[in-house]
């Protein structure tokens, strides 16, 4: 894949500022702010129902924020949604390709929807088929693919237009650890080309693949930093070297205690 044109390496590619989403009385995301730098793998880690998916969907323009601002590549998602969407690739949690179309037809469709044409389009599809080892599945109806290949196809469709930013919503839920690792080698390949990745997960091994994490709990970011930072924050006398899982549980408990005291 060609390099994404880089301007400066530390500019913020994804930005959340006071991002809030209310569903009636329920606040799913409460004043969340962070920024993701170019080339980072940024993870939203949190238990189910913590609001990470809502936050994530506001950042890729699928949900409108009740308050605050979400921007991708400096483009406000509210003001110019279509332009911002051209800059991002999105892979939904649930398989969201056309199940009754073949692998080839799905690739053809997504390349067309992102405005690819002529020879570059053919070349791009060929490149994806090669990179994700999809050749023998091309004439296969995509709903009959093995799960691992469904995910590869979904990833291929999401990055066909070479977006500088890639959004992955629980990309490996439901697959075994071996397939998950293999999927991450594909993601790392994308990152090497300079693509910024934002991922939601509740898998600890997946969290370890991230450069930085934001721990989302009850709609708020309760801790942020590299995986090692988070472990360090959670370290105590009883567990001086906590695992990611230990750190996760400890930080959530600490937050609950603080809320109870307040």
């Amino acid at each position: 894949m060609p390099e994404v044109t880089s301007e400066s390496s530390d500019e913020s590619v994804i930005e959340a500022k006071g991002l809030t989403k209310r569903f009636g009385d329920f606040v799913a995301t409460d004043q969340v702010s962070f920024s993701v730098r170019r080339g980072e793998v940024f993870g939203l880690l949190g238990p189910n129902g913590a609001g990470k998916s809502t936050t994530f969907k506001m950042l890729c323009g699928l949900l409108a924020p009740s308050a605050g601002r979400a921007a991708v590549m400096g483009i406000d998602l509210k003001a110019s949604a279509s332009r911002a969407r051209q800059q991002l690739g999105y892979m939904a949690q649930k398989f969201s390709l056309y199940g009754n179309l073949t692998v080839a037809q799905n690739l053809d469709f997504f390349s067309g929807v992102y405005g690819l044409k002529g020879r570059p389009r053919t070349a791009k599809i060929a490149e994806m088929v090669e990179a994700f080892d999809l050749r023998r599945y091309l004439p296969v109806t995509s709903e009959t693919l093995p799960l691992g290949f469904k995910q590869r196809l979904a990833l291929a469709c999401a990055i066909m237009h070479q977006p500088p930013v890639l959004f992955l919503d629980e990309p490996t839920s439901g697959v075994d650890p071996v397939t998950r690792r293999e999927f991450w080698t594909h993601i790392n390949g994308v990152v090497e080309k300079g693509v910024t990745v934002m991922v939601t997960t509740h898998f600890m091994d997946e969290a370890e693949y991230c450069d930085r994490l934001a721990l989302v709990y009850r709609g708020q970011v309760i801790a942020a930093g590299t995986p090692d930072d988070l472990k360090e924050q959670a370290a105590s006398e009883q567990t001086p070297e906590p695992s990611m899982e230990d750190a996760f549980i400890e930080l959530v408990r600490r937050h609950d205690r603080e809320v109870a005291h307040a």
């Binding site: 969907k57 890729c60 323009g61 699928l62 949900l63 409108a64 949604a81 279509s82 332009r83 969407r85 051209q86 991002l88 690739g89 999105y90 939904a92 649930k94 398989f95 969201s96 390709l97 056309y98 199940g99 009754n100 179309l101 037809q105 053809d108 469709f109 997504f110 390349s111 067309g112 929807v113 992102y114 405005g115 044409k117 469709c157 959004f167």
Partner: protein, 373 residues
């Protein structure tokens, strides 16, 4: 602008793949029309042929016997001789005859005296169409027989009015000619409203909407990609219907094909708009199909004038028919097939269809969301 076109084409092609891969859409677009055309063309026939009618002759005079024999020899009636009135009543209850004629025993006496002779006609009113036919037929036989009798007796023919009906536009009064254009309307409604009621809801149900929403596709592109493939499918189906009607069923077609294409385009815009509207609003295939059935298909059968004549409906129902676009298309189709290009009828119908299409597609656009919430 180029990007927009390319995205719309990619979406339309995808929609086309989905149509091709889904055998039910092909069945609905091409096989159903043929089945319906044949059912309405041959099976469902409002013309009456060979009805069984009972005949009870209580008067055994020569005159009564001659009158009775006037009833036989009709291609439309199968005469069932019965001995007594009770037998006839029994036969009508059992459904073996559709009506009966009784020649009373004082028939010839009255006739000689020159006053009203008693011929009783009883028909099965549970089927009013047939009942009216039996009554009219008995009346016809009676009048004809009187004329013949007068001529034989050398009496002057009764002065008066001889009515010779002519059925313009459908000289043989074949009900098929009236039903086939209506059944084409039904087919267009199924393709337009029922098939498209599924297409947006399907994207929501299967989660593919989420993938679409994350792409740069705009609302207009999305709607166009849903309208165009099904429009082409509708036009292809209309071609099948037209060819089948004109060649296989021998229907006349007196309008121009160009006008047919125009009015079909307008009606498809209405039906597609309606289907997409319920699909976008309900986001559930089953509910959307139910809604399309109730607001598009049933009115197209009941309130369009396709089978049930609108002018014979009670005024409140007649007023309701104006709300359903199918009536304007039925009227246009019957006009084009049987009468020709009649501008006054076609323009009014076209105008209404334009308004309905604009309203429905506009409402659909409002319901088409660019986000998940």
């Amino acid at each position: 602008m180029h990007d927009r076109l390319r995205r719309t084409l990619a979406l339309s092609r995808k929609e086309f793949y989905q149509i091709v891969r889904d055998p039910s859409s092909i069945l609905i677009a091409f096989v159903l029309p043929l089945i319906l055309i044949f059912i309405f063309g041959y099976g469902l026939n409002l013309d009456t042929a060979r009805m069984r009618v009972g005949l009870v002759v209580l008067d055994h005079s020569a005159e009564a016997t001659r009158f009775a024999s006037a009833f036989s020899g009709s291609p439309f009636i199968a005469l069932v001789p019965l001995a007594r009135e009770q037998d006839a009543a029994h036969a009508i209850t059992a459904g073996t005859v559709r009506g009966f004629v009784v020649i009373q025993n004082d028939f010839s006496t009255h006739l000689k005296r020159g006053d009203a002779a008693a011929v009783q006609v009883v028909t099965d009113g549970s089927d009013p169409n047939t009942a009216a036919f039996v009554a009219a037929y008995a009346q016809g036989v009676w009048e004809h027989w009187l004329d013949v009798r007068r001529a034989e007796l050398g009496l002057p023919a009764q002065a008066g009015i001889a009515i010779e009906p002519r059925y313009w536009y459908n000289p043989a009064a074949i009900s098929r000619y009236f039903l086939v254009p209506g059944s084409i309307v039904l087919i267009m409604t199924v393709i337009g409203a029922l098939l498209t009621s599924l297409v947006v809801a399907r994207e929501w149900e299967r989660g593919t909407m989420e993938a679409l929403l994350s792409t740069p596709i705009t609302r207009t592109e999305f709607l166009l990609s849903k309208l165009m493939p099904y429009y082409l499918l509708g036009i292809a189906s209309m071609s099948v219907c037209w060819i089948a009607s004109v060649t296989l069923l021998g229907m006349p077609f007196r309008g121009s094909l160009f006008v047919l294409l125009g009015i079909t385009t307008l009606y498809l815009a209405v039906a597609l708009g309606g289907g997409l509207l319920v699909s976008s609003a309900l986001r559930n295939q089953f509910n959307a199909a139910q809604a399309a059935l109730n607001i598009a298909f049933l009115p197209a059968v009941m309130l369009s004038g396709f089978v049930f004549e609108i002018s014979s409906m009670p005024p409140p129902v007649r007023a309701v028919t104006y709300l359903f676009p199918a009536r304007y298309f039925v009227s246009s189709m019957q006009t084009l097939f049987l009468a020709g290009n009649v501008p006054r009828i076609l323009l009014i119908n076209a105008l209404y269809l334009v308004v309905a299409a604009a309203f429905l597609i506009g409402a659909t656009a409002r319901f088409t969301k660019r986000r998940l919430d």
